[in-house]
């Protein structure tokens, strides 16, 4: 690709990552959540994949790391969601107050784990379609 596109996408990539992480961490207080955050981070990776070759991108996040991340965040989601109806949620809710960053029961943890799952799914799809 062009030199301008390469440089701009390399400079822009950490800010896209920062925006996605902010949307995941602040998703229970403002517009956002797990899926927009994951899609934003995946567009950052898509920008890198389009502008560079796909082998140059993989040193940031390889496919084995992606699948590991996906399984770990999925196990966290399964354990937390299956234990939602029990006493953990009430104990967590007792330590929180509304409109602060640590509020909403376990939804901030869900947002972060769901962000990892969406990022891994979309980046795996992008890697395989680009590599063919």
């Amino acid at each position: 690709m062009d030199l301008i596109i390469k440089t701009v996408s390399r400079i822009l990539f950490p800010f896209i990552l920062l925006l996605g992480t902010y949307m995941a961490f602040h998703g229970h207080l403002s517009p956002g959540g797990a899926f927009p955050a994951g899609v934003i981070i995946a567009t950052g990776f898509a920008l890198l994949i389009i502008s560079y070759r796909e082998g140059d991108v993989e040193h940031r996040l390889t496919k084995d790391e992606l699948i590991d991340l996906k399984s770990v965040s999925g196990i966290i989601l399964i354990i937390l969601i299956l234990s939602l109806g029990h006493h953990i949620r009430d104990e967590v809710l007792a330590t929180q107050n509304i409109f602060s960053l640590w509020s909403g029961g376990l939804t901030p943890v869900f947002n972060i784990a769901g962000m990892f799952m969406v990022v891994t799914a979309i980046v795996v799809i992008l890697y395989t379609i680009v590599r063919e």
């Binding site: 517009p31 899926f35 409109f99 969406v118 799809i125 379609i129 063919e132």
Partner: protein
Amino acid sequence: MFVYITVMLLALVGIYALLLKENLIKKIIGLAIFSNSIHLFLISLGYRKGGIAAIMQKANVGYFSLAAVDPLPQAMVLTSIVINLSVTAVALSLAIHTYRKFGTLDSKKIRGLNG
């Protein structure tokens, strides 16, 4: 009312591309347009006249439950969008596989071939 008519027109465009186009990529585009029209329809069913977004802030705690729009279709559509994304990804990969196997994306030619 005009929103509903627009949504129905969009659904008709999607079904037209899904049934009458012969290129597989155009069929997938029609599928995406059709599901997006359904999302738009569900979102527009939950609208309230002059409503605010269903996110509570310190300024609107007092009149929040009387002014906010319906949050349930938005949550369901958020789920549906992700499933639509995965369906589109699988359909595109099947189109790539079809092109590798038959050398064409025309569905009439694919029907004539066998194997």
